[in-house]
Protein backbone atom coordinates (compact mmCIF):
# COMPACT_ATOMS: atom_id res chain seq x y z
CA UNK A 1 0.00 0.00 0.00
CA UNK A 2 1.28 3.38 -0.96
CA UNK A 3 1.43 6.02 1.75
CA UNK A 4 1.92 9.79 1.35
CA UNK A 5 3.47 11.81 4.11
CA UNK A 6 3.14 15.61 3.74
CA UNK A 7 6.09 17.34 5.32
CA UNK A 8 5.75 20.93 4.03
CA UNK A 9 3.21 23.66 3.29
CA UNK A 10 1.02 22.60 6.15
CA UNK A 11 0.16 26.01 7.57
CA UNK A 12 -3.33 26.94 6.32
CA UNK A 13 -2.98 30.41 7.87
CA UNK A 14 -0.37 31.43 5.33
CA UNK A 15 -0.58 28.93 2.48
CA UNK A 16 -1.73 29.24 -0.28
CA UNK A 17 -3.02 32.65 0.83
CA UNK A 18 -2.66 34.64 4.02
CA UNK A 19 -5.78 34.37 6.17
CA UNK A 20 -4.55 35.93 9.38
CA UNK A 21 -5.86 39.49 9.21
CA UNK A 22 -9.62 39.67 9.46
CA UNK A 23 -12.27 42.31 10.20
CA UNK A 24 -10.54 43.57 13.34
CA UNK A 25 -7.60 44.96 11.35
CA UNK A 26 -9.84 46.54 8.67
CA UNK A 27 -11.98 48.22 11.32
CA UNK A 28 -8.87 49.48 13.13
CA UNK A 29 -7.37 50.89 9.92
CA UNK A 30 -10.64 52.67 9.14
CA UNK A 31 -11.08 54.13 12.61
CA UNK A 32 -7.39 55.08 12.77
CA UNK A 33 -7.78 56.96 9.47
CA UNK A 34 -10.98 58.63 10.68
CA UNK A 35 -9.20 59.75 13.86
CA UNK A 36 -6.39 61.21 11.77
CA UNK A 37 -8.90 63.05 9.57
CA UNK A 38 -10.87 64.48 12.52
CA UNK A 39 -7.68 65.51 14.33
CA UNK A 40 -6.17 67.26 11.29
CA UNK A 41 -9.37 69.08 10.30
CA UNK A 42 -10.15 70.10 13.89
CA UNK A 43 -6.60 71.34 14.49
CA UNK A 44 -6.56 73.26 11.19
CA UNK A 45 -9.82 74.91 12.21
CA UNK A 46 -8.20 75.96 15.51
CA UNK A 47 -5.19 77.34 13.61
CA UNK A 48 -7.49 79.53 11.51
CA UNK A 49 -8.29 81.44 14.73
CA UNK A 50 -11.94 81.83 13.84
CA UNK A 51 -13.70 84.29 16.13
CA UNK A 52 -17.11 83.09 15.01
CA UNK A 53 -19.12 80.35 16.70
CA UNK A 54 -17.21 77.11 17.31
CA UNK A 55 -17.08 74.95 14.21
CA UNK A 56 -18.24 71.34 13.94
CA UNK A 57 -14.63 70.45 13.06
CA UNK A 58 -13.57 71.70 16.50
CA UNK A 59 -16.54 70.20 18.32
CA UNK A 60 -15.85 66.80 16.78
CA UNK A 61 -12.33 66.80 18.28
CA UNK A 62 -13.95 65.41 21.40
CA UNK A 63 -14.59 62.16 19.52
CA UNK A 64 -10.98 61.60 18.41
CA UNK A 65 -9.80 59.70 21.53
CA UNK A 66 -13.07 57.76 21.59
CA UNK A 67 -12.89 56.70 17.92
CA UNK A 68 -9.22 55.83 18.29
CA UNK A 69 -9.97 53.90 21.48
CA UNK A 70 -12.59 51.78 19.72
CA UNK A 71 -10.15 51.21 16.84
CA UNK A 72 -7.38 50.15 19.21
CA UNK A 73 -9.76 47.80 21.00
CA UNK A 74 -10.55 46.22 17.64
CA UNK A 75 -6.82 45.82 16.98
CA UNK A 76 -6.36 44.40 20.46
CA UNK A 77 -8.97 41.74 19.67
CA UNK A 78 -6.80 40.64 16.75
CA UNK A 79 -3.70 40.07 18.86
CA UNK A 80 -2.82 36.47 19.58
CA UNK A 81 -0.75 37.27 22.66
CA UNK A 82 -2.65 40.15 24.18
CA UNK A 83 -0.52 40.65 27.27
CA UNK A 84 2.58 41.20 25.11
CA UNK A 85 1.32 44.64 24.01
CA UNK A 86 3.53 46.42 26.55
CA UNK A 87 6.62 45.14 24.71
CA UNK A 88 5.98 47.69 21.92
CA UNK A 89 6.86 50.35 24.46
CA UNK A 90 10.07 48.80 25.70
CA UNK A 91 11.87 49.67 22.46
CA UNK A 92 11.77 51.81 19.33
CA UNK A 93 12.84 50.40 15.99
CA UNK A 94 13.29 52.94 13.20
CA UNK A 95 12.77 50.33 10.50
CA UNK A 96 9.56 48.91 11.95
CA UNK A 97 6.23 50.55 10.96
CA UNK A 98 4.55 48.83 13.91
CA UNK A 99 7.04 50.42 16.28
CA UNK A 100 6.43 53.84 14.72
CA UNK A 101 2.68 53.25 14.91
CA UNK A 102 2.76 52.26 18.55
CA UNK A 103 4.58 55.42 19.55
CA UNK A 104 2.47 57.65 17.30
CA UNK A 105 -0.68 56.19 18.86
CA UNK A 106 0.75 56.75 22.33
CA UNK A 107 1.32 60.43 21.48
CA UNK A 108 -1.99 61.02 19.66
CA UNK A 109 -4.11 60.13 22.70
CA UNK A 110 -2.75 62.72 25.20
CA UNK A 111 -2.25 65.43 22.57
CA UNK A 112 -5.84 65.09 21.36
CA UNK A 113 -7.06 65.22 24.97
CA UNK A 114 -5.03 68.41 25.54
CA UNK A 115 -6.43 69.92 22.33
CA UNK A 116 -9.95 69.16 23.54
CA UNK A 117 -9.12 70.69 26.93
CA UNK A 118 -7.84 73.81 25.19
CA UNK A 119 -10.97 74.29 23.06
CA UNK A 120 -13.78 72.95 25.26
CA UNK A 121 -14.55 76.27 26.97
CA UNK A 122 -16.16 77.35 23.67
CA UNK A 123 -16.97 74.06 21.96
CA UNK A 124 -18.35 72.06 24.91
CA UNK A 125 -19.19 74.47 27.77
CA UNK A 126 -20.89 71.62 29.65
CA UNK A 127 -17.71 69.54 29.53
CA UNK A 128 -15.69 72.58 30.65
CA UNK A 129 -18.02 73.11 33.62
CA UNK A 130 -17.69 69.42 34.51
CA UNK A 131 -13.89 69.63 34.30
CA UNK A 132 -13.98 72.72 36.53
CA UNK A 133 -16.05 70.87 39.13
CA UNK A 134 -13.58 67.99 39.06
CA UNK A 135 -10.66 70.34 39.68
CA UNK A 136 -9.29 70.06 36.14
CA UNK A 137 -9.40 73.77 35.36
CA UNK A 138 -5.62 73.86 35.43
CA UNK A 139 -5.48 71.39 32.54
CA UNK A 140 -7.77 73.62 30.48
CA UNK A 141 -5.75 76.74 31.28
CA UNK A 142 -2.48 74.94 30.49
CA UNK A 143 -3.87 73.83 27.11
CA UNK A 144 -5.45 77.17 26.24
CA UNK A 145 -2.11 78.92 26.70
CA UNK A 146 -0.41 76.49 24.34
CA UNK A 147 -3.34 76.01 21.96
CA UNK A 148 -1.56 77.00 18.72
CA UNK A 149 1.41 74.78 19.47
CA UNK A 150 -0.88 71.88 20.34
CA UNK A 151 -2.84 72.40 17.11
CA UNK A 152 0.35 72.35 15.01
CA UNK A 153 1.53 69.22 16.80
CA UNK A 154 -1.90 67.64 16.23
CA UNK A 155 -1.71 68.28 12.48
CA UNK A 156 1.72 66.64 12.36
CA UNK A 157 0.58 63.68 14.47
CA UNK A 158 -2.62 63.33 12.43
CA UNK A 159 -0.63 63.17 9.19
CA UNK A 160 1.75 60.65 10.77
CA UNK A 161 -1.15 58.52 11.99
CA UNK A 162 -2.96 58.62 8.63
CA UNK A 163 0.14 57.71 6.64
CA UNK A 164 1.28 55.07 9.12
CA UNK A 165 -1.95 53.07 8.73
CA UNK A 166 -1.03 52.71 5.04
CA UNK A 167 2.68 52.12 5.58
CA UNK A 168 1.78 49.36 8.02
CA UNK A 169 0.62 47.41 4.97
CA UNK A 170 2.92 48.80 2.27
CA UNK A 171 6.05 47.86 4.22
CA UNK A 172 4.89 44.26 4.11
CA UNK A 173 7.16 43.24 1.23
CA UNK A 174 5.87 39.68 0.97
CA UNK A 175 2.47 40.75 -0.44
CA UNK A 176 2.61 42.44 -3.87
CA UNK A 177 -0.76 44.21 -3.60
CA UNK A 178 0.35 46.01 -0.45
CA UNK A 179 3.94 46.56 -1.47
CA UNK A 180 3.50 50.06 -2.93
CA UNK A 181 4.62 53.29 -1.29
CA UNK A 182 1.50 55.14 -2.47
CA UNK A 183 -0.68 53.24 0.01
CA UNK A 184 0.33 55.62 2.83
CA UNK A 185 -0.89 58.79 1.04
CA UNK A 186 -4.05 56.96 -0.12
CA UNK A 187 -4.94 56.01 3.45
CA UNK A 188 -4.22 59.57 4.63
CA UNK A 189 -6.47 61.10 1.95
CA UNK A 190 -9.15 58.49 2.62
CA UNK A 191 -9.02 59.23 6.38
CA UNK A 192 -9.24 62.99 5.69
CA UNK A 193 -12.22 62.35 3.44
CA UNK A 194 -13.96 60.34 6.17
CA UNK A 195 -13.24 63.12 8.67
CA UNK A 196 -14.55 65.80 6.30
CA UNK A 197 -17.69 63.73 5.74
CA UNK A 198 -18.36 63.51 9.46
CA UNK A 199 -17.83 67.27 9.89
CA UNK A 200 -20.16 67.88 6.94
CA UNK A 201 -22.77 65.62 8.57
CA UNK A 202 -22.57 67.19 12.02
CA UNK A 203 -22.20 70.82 11.01
CA UNK A 204 -25.13 73.06 11.94
CA UNK A 205 -23.78 76.00 10.00
CA UNK A 206 -24.72 76.02 6.30
CA UNK A 207 -21.49 77.75 5.21
CA UNK A 208 -19.32 75.27 7.06
CA UNK A 209 -21.44 72.39 5.73
CA UNK A 210 -20.91 73.52 2.14
CA UNK A 211 -17.20 74.19 2.73
CA UNK A 212 -16.57 70.65 3.99
CA UNK A 213 -18.72 69.21 1.21
CA UNK A 214 -16.47 70.98 -1.30
CA UNK A 215 -13.36 69.81 0.56
CA UNK A 216 -14.65 66.24 0.51
CA UNK A 217 -15.36 66.34 -3.23
CA UNK A 218 -11.74 67.38 -3.78
CA UNK A 219 -10.42 64.70 -1.41
CA UNK A 220 -12.43 61.90 -3.05
CA UNK A 221 -11.30 63.03 -6.51
CA UNK A 222 -7.69 62.99 -5.27
CA UNK A 223 -8.19 59.57 -3.70
CA UNK A 224 -9.52 58.19 -7.00
CA UNK A 225 -6.49 59.67 -8.76
CA UNK A 226 -4.09 58.04 -6.27
CA UNK A 227 -5.85 54.66 -6.50
CA UNK A 228 -5.57 54.93 -10.29
CA UNK A 229 -1.83 55.60 -9.96
CA UNK A 230 -1.45 52.64 -7.62
CA UNK A 231 -3.09 50.29 -10.11
CA UNK A 232 -1.09 51.69 -13.04
CA UNK A 233 2.11 51.19 -11.07
CA UNK A 234 1.12 47.65 -10.21
CA UNK A 235 -0.05 46.74 -13.70
CA UNK A 236 3.25 47.94 -15.20
CA UNK A 237 5.41 46.29 -12.54
CA UNK A 238 7.07 42.89 -12.40
CA UNK A 239 5.08 39.76 -13.24
CA UNK A 240 3.79 39.00 -9.76
CA UNK A 241 2.61 42.59 -9.25
CA UNK A 242 0.82 42.38 -12.60
CA UNK A 243 -0.84 39.24 -11.25
CA UNK A 244 -1.80 41.23 -8.13
CA UNK A 245 -3.35 43.95 -10.30
CA UNK A 246 -5.27 41.22 -12.17
CA UNK A 247 -7.19 40.72 -8.94
CA UNK A 248 -9.24 43.81 -9.87
CA UNK A 249 -8.92 43.50 -13.66
CA UNK A 250 -10.85 40.27 -14.17
CA UNK A 251 -9.68 38.38 -11.09
CA UNK A 252 -11.37 37.33 -7.87
CA UNK A 253 -12.03 40.81 -6.45
CA UNK A 254 -13.02 42.59 -9.68
CA UNK A 255 -16.71 42.96 -8.79
CA UNK A 256 -16.00 43.85 -5.19
CA UNK A 257 -13.52 46.55 -6.21
CA UNK A 258 -15.39 48.20 -9.05
CA UNK A 259 -18.92 47.94 -7.67
CA UNK A 260 -18.39 48.47 -3.95
CA UNK A 261 -15.09 50.35 -3.59
CA UNK A 262 -15.20 52.57 -6.68
CA UNK A 263 -18.89 52.98 -7.52
CA UNK A 264 -20.69 52.82 -4.17
CA UNK A 265 -17.82 53.95 -1.94
CA UNK A 266 -16.35 56.77 -4.03
CA UNK A 267 -18.32 57.78 -7.14
CA UNK A 268 -21.80 57.63 -5.59
CA UNK A 269 -21.02 59.89 -2.61
CA UNK A 270 -19.10 62.37 -4.74
CA UNK A 271 -22.06 62.53 -7.14
CA UNK A 272 -24.47 63.10 -4.25
CA UNK A 273 -22.21 65.84 -2.89
CA UNK A 274 -22.02 67.54 -6.28
CA UNK A 275 -25.83 67.48 -6.58
CA UNK A 276 -26.07 68.98 -3.11
CA UNK A 277 -23.61 71.76 -4.00
CA UNK A 278 -25.71 72.48 -7.08
CA UNK A 279 -28.65 73.23 -4.83
CA UNK A 280 -30.59 69.94 -4.98
CA UNK A 281 -31.97 69.31 -1.48
CA UNK A 282 -31.20 65.97 0.15
CA UNK A 283 -31.05 64.60 3.69
CA UNK A 284 -27.83 65.72 5.35
CA UNK A 285 -26.69 62.26 6.34
CA UNK A 286 -26.88 60.50 2.96
CA UNK A 287 -23.64 61.55 1.23
CA UNK A 288 -21.47 61.43 4.41
CA UNK A 289 -22.90 58.00 5.30
CA UNK A 290 -21.79 56.67 1.92
CA UNK A 291 -18.34 58.29 2.30
CA UNK A 292 -17.87 56.60 5.68
CA UNK A 293 -19.19 53.29 4.37
CA UNK A 294 -16.85 53.63 1.38
CA UNK A 295 -13.86 54.20 3.67
CA UNK A 296 -14.67 51.04 5.62
CA UNK A 297 -15.25 48.99 2.44
CA UNK A 298 -11.91 50.23 1.06
CA UNK A 299 -10.03 49.03 4.17
CA UNK A 300 -11.71 45.62 3.98
CA UNK A 301 -10.81 45.41 0.29
CA UNK A 302 -7.14 46.34 0.74
CA UNK A 303 -6.65 43.96 3.68
CA UNK A 304 -8.21 41.10 1.73
CA UNK A 305 -6.48 41.88 -1.58
CA UNK A 306 -3.04 41.97 0.02
CA UNK A 307 -3.53 38.62 1.69
CA UNK A 308 -4.62 36.99 -1.56
CA UNK A 309 -1.48 38.00 -3.45
CA UNK A 310 1.96 36.51 -3.21
CA UNK A 311 5.35 36.66 -4.93
CA UNK A 312 5.35 32.90 -5.35
CA UNK A 313 3.57 31.58 -8.43
CA UNK A 314 1.51 28.49 -7.63
Amino acid sequence: MEEFITTHRMNPDIDPVLTIWRWQVSVYLFLGGLTAGLLILGALSVLQRRKAAPTAAQRLLVWTPVVLGVGLFSLFLDLEHKIHVYRFYTTFRVTSPMSWGSWILLLVMPVSVLLIAGTMRETWPGLYAWAERKGLRGLATFSEKRLMGLARLSVALGVALGIYTGILLSAYGARPFWNTAILGPIFLVSGLSSGAALVQWMSRDEREHRLYTRIDVGLIAFELFLIGLMLIGMASGPERQQAAAHLVFGGELTTYFWVFVVMIGLLLPVLLEVFHLKGRPQPRFIAPAFVLLGGLIFRFFIVEAGQLTTWIGY
Binding site: L268, L272, F275, R280, P283
Partner: protein, 175 residues
Protein backbone atom coordinates in the same frame (compact mmCIF):
# COMPACT_ATOMS: atom_id res chain seq x y z
CA UNK B 1 -40.99 61.36 8.35
CA UNK B 2 -43.29 63.67 6.46
CA UNK B 3 -45.85 63.47 3.73
CA UNK B 4 -44.23 65.09 0.75
CA UNK B 5 -45.69 65.96 -2.61
CA UNK B 6 -42.94 66.57 -5.15
CA UNK B 7 -43.52 69.05 -7.94
CA UNK B 8 -44.72 67.18 -11.05
CA UNK B 9 -42.14 69.00 -13.16
CA UNK B 10 -39.29 67.24 -11.30
CA UNK B 11 -40.34 63.88 -12.74
CA UNK B 12 -39.32 62.67 -16.16
CA UNK B 13 -41.93 62.59 -18.92
CA UNK B 14 -43.53 59.10 -18.51
CA UNK B 15 -43.45 58.36 -22.24
CA UNK B 16 -39.76 59.19 -22.45
CA UNK B 17 -39.15 57.11 -19.30
CA UNK B 18 -41.07 54.18 -20.84
CA UNK B 19 -38.97 54.27 -24.00
CA UNK B 20 -35.87 54.55 -21.82
CA UNK B 21 -36.91 51.47 -19.85
CA UNK B 22 -37.47 49.58 -23.11
CA UNK B 23 -33.97 50.51 -24.24
CA UNK B 24 -32.55 49.40 -20.87
CA UNK B 25 -34.28 46.05 -21.37
CA UNK B 26 -32.84 45.75 -24.87
CA UNK B 27 -29.36 46.58 -23.55
CA UNK B 28 -29.76 44.05 -20.73
CA UNK B 29 -30.46 41.30 -23.29
CA UNK B 30 -27.60 42.51 -25.46
CA UNK B 31 -24.96 42.81 -22.70
CA UNK B 32 -25.86 40.13 -20.19
CA UNK B 33 -28.14 37.84 -22.21
CA UNK B 34 -30.79 38.19 -19.51
CA UNK B 35 -33.86 40.40 -19.15
CA UNK B 36 -34.77 42.58 -16.18
CA UNK B 37 -36.18 41.27 -12.92
CA UNK B 38 -36.84 42.32 -9.35
CA UNK B 39 -38.57 39.65 -7.28
CA UNK B 40 -35.89 37.10 -8.20
CA UNK B 41 -33.24 39.24 -6.49
CA UNK B 42 -35.33 39.47 -3.34
CA UNK B 43 -36.04 35.74 -3.40
CA UNK B 44 -32.32 35.03 -3.68
CA UNK B 45 -31.64 37.35 -0.76
CA UNK B 46 -34.18 35.41 1.30
CA UNK B 47 -32.46 32.14 0.32
CA UNK B 48 -29.11 33.63 1.33
CA UNK B 49 -30.55 34.62 4.72
CA UNK B 50 -31.96 31.11 5.19
CA UNK B 51 -28.57 29.63 4.30
CA UNK B 52 -26.99 31.65 7.09
CA UNK B 53 -29.53 30.30 9.57
CA UNK B 54 -29.70 26.70 8.33
CA UNK B 55 -27.96 25.28 5.26
CA UNK B 56 -29.58 21.93 6.04
CA UNK B 57 -33.08 23.42 5.74
CA UNK B 58 -32.20 24.92 2.34
CA UNK B 59 -30.72 21.61 1.14
CA UNK B 60 -33.84 19.70 2.17
CA UNK B 61 -36.27 22.10 0.50
CA UNK B 62 -36.82 21.32 -3.20
CA UNK B 63 -37.48 24.93 -4.20
CA UNK B 64 -34.77 26.59 -2.08
CA UNK B 65 -32.09 24.02 -2.91
CA UNK B 66 -32.26 24.97 -6.60
CA UNK B 67 -30.91 28.40 -5.69
CA UNK B 68 -28.89 27.87 -2.53
CA UNK B 69 -28.12 24.17 -2.30
CA UNK B 70 -24.78 23.23 -0.76
CA UNK B 71 -21.94 25.11 -2.43
CA UNK B 72 -24.21 27.47 -4.39
CA UNK B 73 -24.15 31.21 -3.76
CA UNK B 74 -27.68 32.57 -4.39
CA UNK B 75 -26.26 36.06 -4.88
CA UNK B 76 -24.06 34.90 -7.74
CA UNK B 77 -26.66 35.94 -10.24
CA UNK B 78 -27.32 38.79 -12.67
CA UNK B 79 -30.64 39.73 -11.07
CA UNK B 80 -29.05 40.50 -7.70
CA UNK B 81 -26.54 42.92 -9.23
CA UNK B 82 -29.17 44.43 -11.48
CA UNK B 83 -31.44 45.08 -8.46
CA UNK B 84 -28.50 46.70 -6.62
CA UNK B 85 -28.00 48.91 -9.67
CA UNK B 86 -31.68 49.84 -9.63
CA UNK B 87 -31.38 50.99 -6.01
CA UNK B 88 -28.24 53.03 -6.69
CA UNK B 89 -29.66 54.40 -9.95
CA UNK B 90 -32.87 55.41 -8.20
CA UNK B 91 -30.85 57.17 -5.51
CA UNK B 92 -28.84 59.09 -8.09
CA UNK B 93 -31.96 59.98 -10.07
CA UNK B 94 -33.74 61.26 -6.94
CA UNK B 95 -30.69 63.24 -5.84
CA UNK B 96 -30.18 64.81 -9.28
CA UNK B 97 -33.79 66.07 -9.26
CA UNK B 98 -33.69 67.20 -5.62
CA UNK B 99 -36.35 64.66 -4.65
CA UNK B 100 -34.31 62.77 -2.06
CA UNK B 101 -36.42 62.80 1.11
CA UNK B 102 -37.65 60.36 3.67
CA UNK B 103 -41.33 60.28 2.81
CA UNK B 104 -44.46 58.21 3.13
CA UNK B 105 -47.33 58.56 0.67
CA UNK B 106 -50.69 57.68 2.19
CA UNK B 107 -54.38 58.47 2.01
CA UNK B 108 -55.99 60.99 4.39
CA UNK B 109 -57.94 58.40 6.43
CA UNK B 110 -55.13 56.09 7.54
CA UNK B 111 -52.11 56.40 9.81
CA UNK B 112 -48.50 55.92 8.78
CA UNK B 113 -48.41 52.61 10.66
CA UNK B 114 -51.50 51.32 8.84
CA UNK B 115 -49.96 52.36 5.53
CA UNK B 116 -46.79 50.41 6.29
CA UNK B 117 -48.75 47.35 7.44
CA UNK B 118 -50.88 47.28 4.29
CA UNK B 119 -47.77 47.84 2.15
CA UNK B 120 -46.14 44.83 3.84
CA UNK B 121 -49.26 42.74 3.33
CA UNK B 122 -49.56 43.75 -0.33
CA UNK B 123 -45.86 43.14 -0.90
CA UNK B 124 -46.03 39.70 0.68
CA UNK B 125 -49.06 38.71 -1.41
CA UNK B 126 -47.42 39.99 -4.58
CA UNK B 127 -44.14 38.25 -3.73
CA UNK B 128 -45.96 34.96 -3.21
CA UNK B 129 -47.91 35.39 -6.44
CA UNK B 130 -44.75 36.31 -8.31
CA UNK B 131 -43.09 33.07 -7.24
CA UNK B 132 -46.15 31.08 -8.38
CA UNK B 133 -46.04 32.88 -11.74
CA UNK B 134 -42.23 32.42 -11.90
CA UNK B 135 -41.64 36.16 -11.98
CA UNK B 136 -43.07 39.61 -11.31
CA UNK B 137 -43.99 42.62 -13.44
CA UNK B 138 -40.32 43.06 -14.36
CA UNK B 139 -39.21 39.49 -14.97
CA UNK B 140 -42.35 38.04 -16.51
CA UNK B 141 -44.47 40.93 -17.74
CA UNK B 142 -41.76 43.29 -19.02
CA UNK B 143 -38.92 40.97 -20.05
CA UNK B 144 -41.14 38.06 -21.09
CA UNK B 145 -43.67 40.37 -22.73
CA UNK B 146 -40.92 41.89 -24.86
CA UNK B 147 -40.18 38.45 -26.28
CA UNK B 148 -43.94 38.08 -27.03
CA UNK B 149 -44.25 35.03 -24.78
CA UNK B 150 -47.96 34.22 -24.45
CA UNK B 151 -47.62 33.24 -20.77
CA UNK B 152 -46.07 36.61 -19.99
CA UNK B 153 -48.93 38.53 -21.59
CA UNK B 154 -51.49 36.42 -19.72
CA UNK B 155 -49.62 37.03 -16.45
CA UNK B 156 -49.48 40.78 -17.12
CA UNK B 157 -53.22 40.93 -17.86
CA UNK B 158 -53.92 38.91 -14.69
CA UNK B 159 -51.78 41.27 -12.59
CA UNK B 160 -53.67 44.31 -13.88
CA UNK B 161 -57.05 42.58 -13.63
CA UNK B 162 -56.26 41.50 -10.06
CA UNK B 163 -55.20 45.02 -9.12
CA UNK B 164 -58.32 46.62 -10.60
CA UNK B 165 -60.53 43.97 -8.99
CA UNK B 166 -59.02 44.54 -5.53
CA UNK B 167 -58.80 48.33 -5.76
CA UNK B 168 -62.49 48.86 -5.01
CA UNK B 169 -62.23 46.93 -1.75
CA UNK B 170 -59.22 48.84 -0.45
CA UNK B 171 -60.17 52.26 -1.86
CA UNK B 172 -60.49 53.80 1.61
CA UNK B 173 -56.75 53.41 2.07
CA UNK B 174 -56.31 56.19 -0.48
CA UNK B 175 -59.43 58.35 -0.60
Amino acid sequence: MRTFQAKPSTYMNPYVAGIGLGLVLLLAYLISGRGLGASGALMRTVVQAEKVVSQEHVDNNFYLSKYGGDGQNPWHNWLVWEALGVLVGGLISGASAGRLHLELHRGPRITARQRLLYAMLGGALFGFGARLARGCTSGVALSGGATLAAGSWITMLCIFAGAYGLAWFVRKLWI
